[in-house]
């Protein structure tokens, strides 16, 4: 049985920004052009009907609906009122969390008041201080969007702004980034690793150094930020770090599609009603998430027969042999599925951020041990992890062998085999 509780509704398939790293518009995926610009309310109703049947048959009583895009705030205010009403009248018995992920450029008092009234929590995407934000998050005319976004964030303090989402840009000096977060008085922040894989390096990565066993630019950046954050007694919540700390401390049952060992209970609804696996996988190759399933003609459960969904749902179990033998596997989980892709091996690779994850997890584990009183550490059955030892162990013979069937599945996603 697949337990899916997060549904990402691509209610608008276009955007008023044209971010240079966006997988939708600038990373080779053109499928959005075939989508209707807006998801019709009939499609929302059809989805709610299928959701009802899915929740009733599985006993799921809690669902998160994420309004996403493109840019979801290109829809009209009344659209959101109607959407929420559709869900609440079609399946009144379940508990909802409504969220919207927006670029923030049109968020004003009217929008905040409406979203607050509808109990829709807001997340805003930002790329850092003005200079860096405006390099990437630009309008179609090339102008930066920082001024509008910063204004929306400041306004959000009065309302239901939940937090900021930031795609990591290692070119931003961490002191500058942290100062910006303090200036904007951010109380909650999440960090995302940029989309990319072995055949499409994310921005900021020096591909010439990829084989260097000491090259961990993302971890170095994270660690710098972590140190500043740790020193600050008035620190914001940084979800990515906190989740890592909790997992390293030994807390069970947490994680997400980037880290940890949980299943990935997320499904995406495109604006034409297509039901798909998370669209950031499209950065691997065009069509990887494509199927024939649509809420107007299918049940939501039909997606569970789909190969890509099955692999994605259990992505943290379906890992390559190196991950199975890795000392930090329970924390890293092999990383996000999309980051493992190569044309040569399909998904039979560790995440392309593997060395960074080893470095970061090692650092945090070491820091916790160094921070705890020595007499407490002496009572624990634990040794500090050593980056070099772990990296070198990847060249040794593996004790745990990968199930050949799993390996075959991972490899079968090579672009040429899927074509």
């Amino acid at each position: 049985m697949y337990s899916v509780t997060s549904f990402v509704l691509k209610i608008v398939s276009r955007c008023n920004l044209n971010c240079s790293y966006c997988y939708m518009y600038n990373m080779g995926d053109q499928t959005y052009l075939k989508q209707p610009k807006f998801m019709s309310l009939e499609t929302v109703q059809a989805f709610a009907d299928k959701l009802k049947s899915y929740c009733n048959s599985t006993g799921i009583d809690f669902v998160q609906i994420i309004f996403h895009g493109g840019e979801p705030l290109l829809a009209k205010p009344a659209y959101f009122e109607k959407c929420v009403a559709i869900f609440k009248t079609t399946i009144p018995e379940i508990e909802y969390v409504f969220t919207i992920q927006t670029n923030g450029v049109t968020l004003d008092d009217n929008w905040y008041q409406l979203l607050q009234k509808l109990n829709i929590s807001i997340g805003i995407s930002i790329d850092g201080p003005e200079k860096y934000h405006d390099e990437y998050r630009v309008f179609h005319n090339g102008k930066g969007s920082y001024t509008q976004v910063a204004k929306a964030i400041q306004l959000g303090k009065k309302y239901n702004l939940r937090g900021l989402l930031l795609v990591v840009n290692i070119n931003i000096p961490i002191e500058e980034l942290y100062a910006e977060m303090k200036k904007l008085d951010v109380n909650s922040l999440n960090l995302l690793l940029p989309d990319g894989h072995y055949d499409q390096a994310p921005f900021g990565l020096d591909v010439n150094r990829w084989n260097d066993k000491n090259y961990t630019p993302y971890a170095d950046w994270f660690i710098g930020l972590y140190k500043i954050w740790k020193q600050d007694k008035e620190r914001p919540s940084i979800y990515f770090f906190e989740t890592l700390v909790k997992m390293i401390m030994g807390q069970e049952g947490i994680g997400n599609q980037l880290i940890g060992r949980r299943t990935n209970g997320v499904v995406v609804l495109e604006s034409d009603g297509s039901v798909e696996v998370v669209d950031s996988l499209r950065a691997c190759f065009e069509g990887i998430t494509r199927n024939e399933i649509n809420v107007n003609t299918h049940q939501l459960e039909d997606l569970f027969e789909n190969d890509t969904f099955q692999l994605y749902y259990r992505a943290h179990d379906n890992v390559c042999e190196q991950c199975l033998n890795c000392p930090v596997y329970d924390i890293c989980g092999g990383g996000f599925l999309g980051h493992r892709y190569s044309d040569e091996n399909g998904f039979d690779n560790p995440t392309m951020y593997c060395q960074d994850m080893v470095r970061l997890i090692t650092f945090i584990q070491n820091d916790i041990l160094a921070s705890l009183p020595a007499e407490s550490v002496a009572q624990l059955d634990i040794e500090p992890l050593v980056y070099k030892e772990i990296i070198n162990s990847f060249d040794e013979e593996n004790d745990i062998k990968i199930d050949p069937e799993v390996q075959q599945t991972l490899v079968s996603f090579k672009k040429e085999l899927q074509a």
Binding site: G123, R162, V245
Partner: protein, 86 residues
């Protein structure tokens, strides 16, 4: 042989860490105390723990990769209040 990467993996080690987090005044533990709900209240630790546990149940109830903050219905934006180690 795989090394253990998790600081605590059984009840005894969880108790050791919980105690260290609850009792220490060290600055260097401030971050970890904040993530795990701060120092135990001297007056009423039981109430403090039960409130934390109720919040913890909502943490990561759903996948959070796609959004700006963990969604814990009814809780404030900061998730910094899970009962540390069960």
């Amino acid at each position: 042989m795989k090394k253990n990467s998790k600081i605590t993996s059984n009840l005894k080690s969880k108790e050791v860490v919980n105690k260290a987090l609850s009792n220490s005044n060290e600055d260097q533990l401030d971050l970890y105390q904040a993530i795990f709900g701060g120092k135990a209240s001297a007056n009423c630790p039981v109430v403090a723990v039960s409130a934390k546990a109720s919040r913890a149940s909502g943490y990561d109830k759903i996948d959070t990769f796609l959004q700006a903050a963990p969604m814990d219905p009814g809780a404030p934006a900061s998730p910094a209040s899970d009962s540390p180690l069960g």
